[in-house]
């Protein structure tokens, strides 16, 4: 009885090991075609009036921006497709953001989907946008910008709560990026 039990245990262990190895192999395979990490931030672009500029001098500042980061990307794997998703809100916009880079098979082709929903759950004009993922880890295509429309009331609220005296909002963008400069800023936010 004890001998049979020992044999069963060995057999069970072997099956478990096999299953574990298969799972590891499957997981590694899935991860190998998971899109690269990316991050998203909202940029509130502004300039500042220089009230004391003399005639003939430039009377506005160079453009600059305040930024609010969206949560870090997470991996989602289902039915043979692998995706990285960023989802969330920022403090100064009444919108929900959903950004997904997905690969539907084991080919190199990826899709980038960007959606911005208002407080009633409806996509903003011009969204969702779906395209072949144009992002690369380095070079001049490591980031992509999506202009976010804002109402006059939202604009005024941003200027009142986020900007300083004499500063005015020029436009708002969602930036999606995957280069190291961009990612490091977001990782440092998390720490």
């Amino acid at each position: 009885m004890q001998r049979a039990s020992l044999a069963d245990t060995v057999r069970l262990l072997a099956v478990c090991c096999g299953l574990f190895a298969a799972l590891l192999a499957y997981g590694a395979d899935e991860l190998s075609h998971t899109p690269l990490p990316f991050a998203c931030e909202v940029r509130y672009h502004f300039r500042e009036h220089f009230r004391d500029a003399k005639p003939g001098q430039k009377n506005v500042s160079a453009p600059s921006y305040e930024r609010e980061a969206l949560p870090m990307s997470r991996i989602a794997i289902s039915e043979g497709s692998a995706a990285r998703i960023v989802e969330g809100r920022v403090a100064h916009l009444p919108y929900q953001f959903l950004v997904r880079i997905s690969r539907s098979d084991k080919s190199q082709a990826e899709d980038l989907e960007v959606n911005v929903l208002d407080s009633s759950g409806k996509p903003l004009a011009g969204f969702p946008q779906v395209m072949r993922n144009p992002l690369t880890k380095t070079g001049d295509s490591s980031r992509k910008e999506f202009e976010i429309p804002v109402s006059e009331a939202v604009k005024k609220n941003i200027e009142k709560t986020l900007l300083e005296k004499d500063q005015f909002l020029t436009h708002v963008d969602l930036i999606v990026g995957m280069d190291d400069d961009f990612l490091s800023a977001h990782f440092s936010n998390v720490r």
């Binding site: 300039r47 600059s64 921006y65 490591s142 980031r143 300083e164 020029t170 400069d181 490091s184 440092s188």
Partner: protein, 222 residues
């Protein structure tokens, strides 16, 4: 003895014993002043323009409120100057820097001249807040700067050529970003590029005229 001129977002701006001014910050990209002077992209252009631009038109303004480009009246309510056939980027707008360049004869150029301004696409320059311009004895606009990316050790000579907002430190031209290996991002580098981590070290030499790409810049009172 060194002294702290001020602090912006936790970064001290220090006037050192030798009179230089140092601080560390990130790097926002400033495309202003790019008018194709040396074959690069202009900063701003109307939608009918077929080439690329360094920045999106939202940072220049819109009809009735052109705050980011040179207008015919010099007021924001005027019409943007559009470069003509004899200019470096026909069809593009004229974008300005605070630092003005003279003509070949040494005389001031008209406001509408694309060559009056420092080209962000090809000249490494930085923009600084009024706190620095007003906070030191030496003239800052046109002075020498050394910009170092401490992440990769790359450094470049640059010139102070523009004024930044009062509460922001660390703003550089697109050419400066390329010189020190800061990401220029997407199709409009001045809009989506830059680095937010405070890894860029800036050392300014107020009162010392910058020499960049073989060009000596004039110091300009602000």
């Amino acid at each position: 003895m060194s002294r702290i001129i001020g602090t912006i977002h936790g970064s001290d701006i220090v006037e050192e014993n030798d009179g230089s001014v140092t601080f560390s910050a990130g790097a926002t990209l400033d495309g202003d002043g790019a008018n194709g002077q040396f074959g690069g992209d202009p900063c701003y252009a109307p939608s009918s323009y077929s080439g690329g631009t360094l920045d999106v038109i939202g940072n220049a303004g819109h009809p009735g409120n052109w705050f980011g480009v040179v207008t015919d009246t010099g007021e924001e309510t005027g019409k943007p100057i559009v470069q003509g056939a004899g200019d470096p980027c026909p069809g593009a707008y004229v974008s300005a820097t605070s630092l003005h360049l003279p003509g070949r004869d040494g005389k001031p150029l008209p406001r509408s001249s694309p060559f009056k301004y420092v080209d962000s696409a090809t000249v490494p320059f930085i923009a600084v807040p009024p706190m620095i311009i007003k906070g030191v004895a030496g003239i800052v606009m046109g002075c020498r700067v050394v910009v170092t990316n401490t992440k990769n050790g790359k450094k470049t000579e640059a010139v102070v050529a523009d004024g930044g907002p009062s509460n922001h430190l660390g703003e550089i031209s697109v050419a400066c970003a390329k010189a020190i290996g800061v990401s220029t991002g997407g199709p409009h580098p001045a809009n989506s590029g830059g680095a937010d981590s405070p890894d860029i070290h800036y050392q300014l030499f107020p009162g010392v005229a910058a020499v960049v790409n073989g060009v000596t810049y004039s110091l300009q009172h602000s």
